[in-house]
């Protein structure tokens, strides 16, 4: 993320790799893997397997222990406490972004950690969601005093997850564009993050009061929707208050039934692409447009922010366009459902790609910055050098913990696996929509093109960023 871009642990600043072949050949290799996977799926996968989750509940005792009221109160309290620490350190701590607990905690540990661990273990954010915990506590208090549940407005169906999609772009915008230096400022000020967190807390609690805690978390609360989306890929889930196992990826199939879901996953891919490309692949073009805006009389800071905002929105439009072209292509196949059904019905196939983009672009940042998180940032959250809570305040980051080549192979591996999973989900959904498996396979030619395009684009962004 760009607040770190001037610092030695920036994700874009990776020691030059010593690859056995040119980086672009990996794009060719990845494309071949996708094409082979496509034909293997067409030949061997002839019935939908993910439409049924294959739900198997875990032991009642385990569900009670992990989902019971004491666990909910404890996890909620931890979430509220950590949010409080982050806001306090942002407002009271050092202005240096790399020494302040808040930025790394919110933008690295939470923003990058929850998607990955939710995809592996299930929806981890839900119990720790501080706003949900506060909202539920208020709701419980109201019920105890008034003797009845608080009444809520009915949430407009058409609005769906659009507030979360726009909010997701806004979160990234705050860090990457508002805080992005562009050679003008010094990066995102922790104080700005603290104020933003407080404003978001007020907004979220107001929306929860209007529409209900769970309704808002399902549709409008940015972090619940975003992290919850990735948790649909995982093996564990909760149904009717019971913990259980399901087929991996299967819960994703019914995620995009709410309007605006496609926009959320597209926003995720687009914002990661923009962050990955702004200092690499898009740099020259952004600079050219910036010069043009500057000539119009705008101040340097306004120029950087306006240009970057336009490019981020263009990324969103570009990713959406590629996806919609794939959907449009599917529509041409005999027996295809309506365009609207295809558009929503295949949005979940982009979730593994969003995760792959996240891992590919931020893996090195996460590995390096988490060392800081669990050493000096934890011992000295304010970064003022006045505390050493766990005796690790003087520790540093070991940049040799992963080599440049290892980072590259993780990035390529994540992109390939993510796109093969996306292809598999798309093939499975096509089998549910087309009665003849041959037509279903033919419809997936277009999703193959989408996947190859996203893979090559992702690898190009990485190679240009690393170059």
């Amino acid at each position: 993320m760009s607040f770190l871009s001037s610092l030695p642990f920036a994700h874009a600043l990776i020691a030059r790799q010593d690859l056995p072949v040119p980086a672009w050949l990996f794009a060719w290799g990845a494309s071949i893997v996708l094409i082979v996977s496509f034909f293997a799926l067409a030949a061997a996968w002839r019935k939908p397997r993910f439409e049924d989750e294959g739900w198997r509940p875990l032991g009642a005792g385990l569900s009670r222990a992990l989902l019971g009221i004491p666990a909910q109160v404890l996890c909620g309290a931890i979430g509220v406490f950590l949010l409080g620490v982050a806001v306090y350190s942002a407002l009271r701590g050092t202005e240096a972004p790399d020494r302040n607990f808040s930025l790394t905690f919110l933008y690295v540990t939470c923003w990058l950690g929850f998607p990955v661990f939710s995809a592996l273990l299930g929806n981890l954010f839900k119990p720790f969601n501080p706003w949900r915990a506060i909202g539920r506590a208020f709701g419980g208090g109201f019920e105890a005093i008034a003797g009845q549940r608080a009444a809520h407005l009915s949430y407009p169906e058409w609005l769906g997850r659009w507030p979360a999609a726009i909010g997701l772009l806004a979160v990234v915008w705050l860090e990457v564009i508002y805080g992005g230096s562009g050679g003008v400022a010094v990066g995102l000020q922790p104080e700005a993050v603290g104020v933003a967190a407080l404003v978001y807390t007020g907004y979220t609690l107001a929306m929860m009061a209007l529409f209900g805690v769970e309704e808002w978390c399902e549709r409008g609360e940015i972090f619940s929707v975003y992290f919850g989306m990735f948790s649909r890929l995982g093996y564990f889930g909760v149904r009717d208050g019971r913990l259980g196992r399901r087929k991996p990826l299967s819960a994703a199939t019914n995620w995009a039934t709410i309007p605006g879901s496609a926009a959320v996953v597209i926003a995720s891919i687009a914002s990661t692409s923009f962050d990955g490309g702004q200092d690499g692949a898009f740099k020259g073009t952004i600079e050219s447009v910036s010069e043009w805006v500057l000539e119009l009389g705008a101040s340097p800071l306004t120029t950087v922010r306006v240009t970057d905002t336009v490019f981020m929105l263009l990324c969103f439009a570009g990713v959406a366009l590629v996806y919609l072209l794939g959907v449009r292509g599917m529509r041409t196949v005999r027996g295809a459902p309506s365009l609207a059904k295809l558009r929503n019905g295949f949005a979940h196939t982009l979730i593994p790609i969003a995760l792959a983009y996240l891992i590919a672009h931020y893996f090195s940042l996460f590995v390096f910055q988490e060392q800081a998180q669990f050493t000096y940032l934890l011992s000295d959250p304010l970064g003022t050098g006045t505390a050493d809570l766990f005796g690790t305040a003087s520790a540093g980051i070991d940049f040799t913990v992963v080599s440049a080549n290892a980072i590259w192979y993780v990035q390529v591996g994540a992109l390939i696996v993510g796109h093969v999973l996306g292809l598999t989900l798309a093939h499975d959904r096509a089998l549910a929509y087309w009665p003849d498996y041959r037509d279903a396979s033919r419809s997936q030619y277009w999703m193959l093109a989408v996947m190859v395009a996203f893979t090559c684009f992702g690898l190009y962004l990485l190679s240009a960023g690393n170059g």
């Binding site: 060719w28 494309s31 093109a449 090559c456």
Partner: protein, 44 residues
């Protein structure tokens, strides 16, 4: 001297080529399928 210094600016072409090849293959097979369907309708 070859202008190799500017080669880096054109590397993106190598990333676009697989996409173009796949799209060309899809268009070709789609057209063939359409033609086959058309011939089948004429016979019926």
């Amino acid at each position: 001297m070859l202008p190799l210094a500017h080669l880096g600016h054109w590397l993106w072409i190598f990333y676009v080529l697989p996409v173009i090849i796949v799209i060309a293959g899809i268009l070709r097979s789609s057209l063939l399928a359409k033609r086959r369907e058309g011939e089948g309708d004429e016979r019926n």
